[in-house]
Symmetry: C2
Subunit: 499 residues, 2 copies
């Protein structure tokens, strides 16, 4: 089956065996058809009243909820993420759809500004307009929330953009079934034909981003894949925006006061966050900075990690990459193994592992040592906390990387030194990460209005934008201003009585 | 002088002679120094209270106003744009600085969203943060408003970003003097050293966008120059956003009712807009669609254009490019000369000229015929208005190009056919242009809150952003969210009592 390039075959990560029938790849010709149909649907969809679009998104959410058991079973077979997690993820996904329905009803996303004429200034009325058909590339690690009916799809449909999803090859049958449910629900809600479609296969993805009808791309995945697609977008005759989330190692700093005050709580939280979903999260805490003299904390970390158990990874490629990366890291002379969890079952299982290195050694090779390992692998950096504001240059970009989705600080609010250094640290981290977490862990991203899931390159390719939360809709909107437009021709939203 | 690559020499467009002493080019080493100084100034400037930053912008505006006579004299010698226009442009420039001061005092630009904890959701507080030091590339055609102290500089300084300006080679002495005034005013207002600087020369511009300290680039100029810089930005080890405004031909449609109702007014308006500033505006109306049977309008256009007079262009290169482009267009068999203005004085003078072509011929070669000619050159396309919604496919992207800064419609509000077709046309144009002008002309861009000066590629490289008006500040901001931040560490703007 693996050698058949005309189909996409899902596998059961628990056994390595094929999971269900393969799904046919979409031919370039079919992709072109689908893209043109999306373009044809654009006018009708963007002109659909926003409350009707909201109702259509809610219909999709309801349909997914109604089929949750079937979807979870399909996804569990293809991802092995487990029923509890997957059931929660469907709820998160339908919650996202309903959030964007509420964003539509609120209407603030249109960013309307009306200025009546005041000589010599003309009458100017600005409104945001959907950019056009959007290509959405699904992620491996969220078969629902960052996949066919995930945040990119929900926010783009809300904006008034048709969506063509490129399914992730790790869960084709989940993707196909989800797409059928989405398409049926949209159709029943009166959405125009062509407003939503799915394509399968690597070549189909390439054809999609290169098709002239596609106006923007949303992507969640590897840096290598993302940068290749970004290049294709930039080199089109008409370049289009590429919103890519490419990876992050999410540094966590444990300040001395916190290390002393609550070592067990921090160790347990760390082990749980590191191994959640077999470590397959973009917000996985890859780097943990702890005081070198915090022996109690290091002991607690060893104990907590030892109690964790591995599990099957999403795909063989991901598993093999993880194992190779871990071996490479372990082979470095300055790196020692701090703790290991128990192995999981099955051929693609990853065992949680935490390495450690001194800050001095880390800083010598930070670029290599802070490479992302997608999976349950952590690097603990032991630092000596001096008297200056940054005694070991840990705040340097060289230590932390240019861009991260998150950075976290554990501090003791009652400890003067923690607060003083924490303030400096937090301020510096705002230049490196899109979200600063205090006394918590980066995994778990609330889907709300205030959320920002993004960060400087390479965390994302467009640091001003988020892929999670209400503001994600901004990626799919462009402004247009009407100057001295006669009342008869003004769009309803811009009429004098509309606001 | 022209062969001396170590200096930038300005010229008097009225004579072609050198205008004042040359200005030394900035060496790559000096550029590096300046970029590092900008990075060093970043923390102090972004932490400066926003009302203090507002006062600093107003101090710059006051200082420019106080030196208006000297600045206008310098600029007139290097650009020949005339005292009236240049005096107005200084006022526009200082108006922009004051607008951004008011944007700072208002504070809405920070896009603050505060969500208190509500289990299981954490406390999340988002705020926009300046992106870092910004490189600003000045335009040739606005020696003040899109130059050293122009909209890009004003909006970036307002955002909290240090600015390094690359001076345009067409007006080095104006740039140098403006920069001295800006730097002195900022210094007197207490702004940190290094927050503003200027560099001269092509190589200096390259070194600037490649320097690691630069976080974003603003550019107004040619498509060729802009695309080359965009590529440099994308290919940096850490890519940075490039906000480029690259050119536009700004189609104008005269619908049959309007052509009949007010031919003289339209003809006069067109001739004035086409020749304003010797046609050297990004919003110059390059394409005018008129009814083939509107003979009266065509006659009035000929008469109005015949009354115009040419003038010296900004630079020899611009003049030579204009003349060559006009000759190429005139040599095409399907193109005829509709009208010519009177020649201006001096070696770099351009004579206004309007060509015409039938819609049928135009559509056959639209890609070549709609190329931008920077200068007082118009192409009139005569169309036959049939009964369908778009009888001659004029609404196709092929006819109008992918992206325009503006598109304009002249219609008679009392004419049913004008209104009906105008509605379809306006709606379609929102996908092509960032501003739709009704019964007016695209030149003249109000600097306000509702304004949007941008458009799909190639008009701009980032169609969601504007380079004119209050929203221009958004280009220099990225969000950051604080999760469960202890009260002692929250930035003042995000404290519970601050909103």
């Amino acid at each position: 089956m693996t050698s058949d390039t005309s189909t996409v075959q899902g596998y059961d990560p628990r056994t390595g065996d094929p999971a269900g029938d393969p799904v046919p790849q979409t031919t370039p010709r079919a992709v072109a058809h689908i893209a043109v149909a999306a373009a044809d649907a654009f006018d009708a969809w963007r002109e659909t009243d926003r409350t009707t679009r909201a109702a259509a998104l809610e219909a999709v959410a309801d349909a997914l909820d109604a089929n949750v058991a079937e979807l979870v079973a399909l996804a569990d077979r293809e991802t092995a993420l487990g029923e509890t997690r997957l059931t929660g993820e469907v709820a998160r996904t339908t919650g996202q759809l309903r959030l964007f329905a509420s964003v539509l009803r609120d209407g603030g996303y249109r960013d309307i500004v009306v200025e009546h004429a005041e000589a010599p200034r003309p009458d100017l009325r600005r409104i945001a307009r959907p950019v056009g058909p959007v290509a959405v590339f699904s992620a491996s690690n969220f078969p629902f929330a960052f996949s066919v009916a995930g945040g990119d799809t929900a926010s783009a449909l809300a904006a008034g953009c048709p969506v063509v999803v490129k399914a992730h090859e790790a869960h084709p049958r989940t993707s196909l079934r989800t797409a059928m449910i989405v398409a049926e629900a949209l159709d029943s809600a009166g959405a125009p034909e062509g407003v939503f479609a799915i394509v399968f296969g690597f070549e189909a993805g390439i054809a999609l981003v290169q098709h002239p009808a596609i106006a923007a791309v949303g992507f969640t995945g590897s840096a290598r894949g993302g940068l290749a697609l970004a290049k294709l977008c930039a080199e089109r005759p008409k370049p289009i925006p590429f919103y890519g989330e490419l990876g992050s190692v999410n540094p966590v700093f444990v300040l001395p006061g916190a290390a002393q005050a609550r070592p067990e709580e921090i160790a347990r939280g760390y082990a749980a966050s590191l191994t959640l979903g077999v470590g397959q999260f973009c917000t996985n805490p890859g780097l943990l900075f702890v005081p070198a003299d915090g022996e109690r904390l290091l002991e607690e970390i060893s104990a907590a990690v030892a109690e964790t158990t591995g599990g099957p990874m999403l795909a063989q490629r991901i598993h093999d990459g993880f194992v190779a990366g871990a071996q490479e890291l372990a082979a470095r002379p300055e790196v020692r193994t701090l703790a290991e969890g128990k192995p999981g079952d099955g051929p693609w299982s990853a065992t949680p592992v935490v390495y450690s290195v001194t800050a001095e050694d880390y800083l010598r090779s930070a670029t290599e040592l802070r490479e992302e390992h997608f999976g349950p692998l952590g690097l603990v950096i032991t630092y000596t906390f001096g008297s200056g504001p940054d005694p070991f240059n840990l705040l340097d970009v060289g230590a932390l990387g240019d861009g991260q989705l998150t950075a976290s600080i554990h501090l003791d609010p009652g400890d003067e030194a923690d607060i003083t250094f924490g303030r400096t640290l937090a301020d510096r981290l705002t230049g490196i990460a899109g979200r600063i977490v205090f006394n918590g862990w980066p995994t778990g991203v609330a889907v709300t209005h205030a959320q920002h899931h993004g960060g400087p390159f390479p965390a994302t390719t467009s640091p001003a934008h988020t892929s999670v939360g209400a503001a994600a809709i901004r990626r799919w909107l462009v402004p247009v201003v009407y100057q001295d437009c006669p009342a008869q021709l003004l769009p309803g939203d811009l009429a004098d009585g509309a606001l």
